[in-house]
């Protein structure tokens, strides 16, 4: 799963949102690290819709402009959960490797102790 996809599913996890809402929520959740481009967002939404991970929730008219809301499907929630598990596993692996490195007196921590 690519990063924009991950953040779109994450942003839709709690409630249906329209395109602008997804971009804002992804930015908030990632401490402004993720700024989705609208072109990327809608391409991903189309693909996720075709894969059944996301679907159209409703259309709303605000200030004479139509807003289409998207929501996460059950399949989408399962896919996000699996991805989260995978990421956690990857992070755990890296963390334990780094801990071992420190134990063997390697790396920046050891160098600082030596001086």
């Amino acid at each position: 799963m690519r990063e924009p996809t991950f953040w779109i599913l994450t942003a839709l996890a709690t409630e249906p949102r329209h395109g602008y809402g997804v971009i804002q929520e992804a930015a908030r959740l990632s401490d402004d690290q993720v700024r989705l481009q609208p072109g990327t967002l809608y391409a991903a939404l189309d693909r996720l819709d075709a894969e059944g991970l996301v679907e159209v929730d409703r259309d709303e008219t605000v200030d004479g402009r139509n807003r289409r809301y998207y929501r996460l499907t059950d399949d989408g929630a399962r896919a996000l959960e699996a991805e989260t598990e995978r990421l956690r596993h990857s992070a755990d692996a890296a963390r334990s490797q780094l801990a071992a490195r420190r134990r063997f007196g390697l790396g920046p921590t050891a160098a600082r102790q030596g001086t």
């Binding site: 481009q37 072109g39 809608y42 189309d46 289409r68």
Partner: protein, 380 residues
Amino acid sequence: MTDTLSRRYRLLLRAYPPGPRRVELLDTLLDLAAPGRRAPTARETANLLRHGLRARLGRPRSRGVVVFAVLVAVTLGFLGAAGAHRLAWETARPLPTGAEAESLKAAAFPGLAVRGDDGAPLFETEIGESMPEYGSARYRVEPTAATRDFRAYGEAARDRLRAAGWRIRAEGTPFLYPRADPEAHERGQRIWEFWATRDGLALTFTVSHESEVDPRHADRAELVVSRTAPAWTGPAGALGAILGALAGWFLTGWVSRRTEGRTVASVVVSTATALALLQLAVPWLLLASLLLRLGAPDQPELRPTDPFWTAMFLFGRELPENAAKLGVLVLAVAAWPLRWTRRRDPARRRSPRLVPAVTVAAVGTLTVAGLLVYGMGLGR
């Protein structure tokens, strides 16, 4: 101010296929834009163009459709370049006739009776050949005692033509045909040749003498006059390539979107497109040869070679014609009324991942391009 930004976004969003997505994107973009912004950022522009062109192809899950679109775009780009190149040749000047032809013949072969007809079509295909060549006028004279001294005769002709304003590009013995018939060389055949250009014309002068054979049969003195490529042919070819490639992409997208969710149509269209692409693979080889030629260092001793698209007819006209028919089939399938398939829209998500619809689009594009090329008389 916002109007300016909105107008520019709208223009960019034309990369997307017509539909509600354009408005949805516009609203999102305007919501995101900081107050006072007048133009899309470079990053936005690139992002919208990229995803918009992809969205044109439909089938968001499919990668095959992208492959098809690229292949069709390349092929139609080639055909577009060929057609535009051929069209630009129409601006080439006519071959010399009348007084101009007479003075040319007199400069090459003074005092001799010259045989051969003036003028020639732009391109001509020799009987039994499939590839067209530049049309040329051929003049020859009966060998005489003077032409037997082939080198002196050739150099004298060169000097006269140079005095008449011709620019000599290369000359010598086996200069133009470095590996000309070694057996003839064994027999004592000697050739003096040069080629020259002036005002959109190119000429090749050849005089040969064969010492061990009856000179009346073996000796030869001839002048071949052809046109040089008009200056427009290069830019016209480049423009044709761009337009053809765009047409290929958009046509593929149209066919793909029209056949999305129609399993049978998708299979027919993709198969036909793949077959058509296969039959037109020959042009791609030609394209490769063209690129190789462009990459080669400038060799002024080489006379103009035949245009890059003639290789399309290397194996006759059947392959391009078959590809054109397949293209028509693809377009017809895609254009088939959708009234009764629309009802299945809610199930669209379950639509097959088959990429073939893209193929159909590609074939159609190819067909149209092929017909255009033929219509313009490329194969004349």
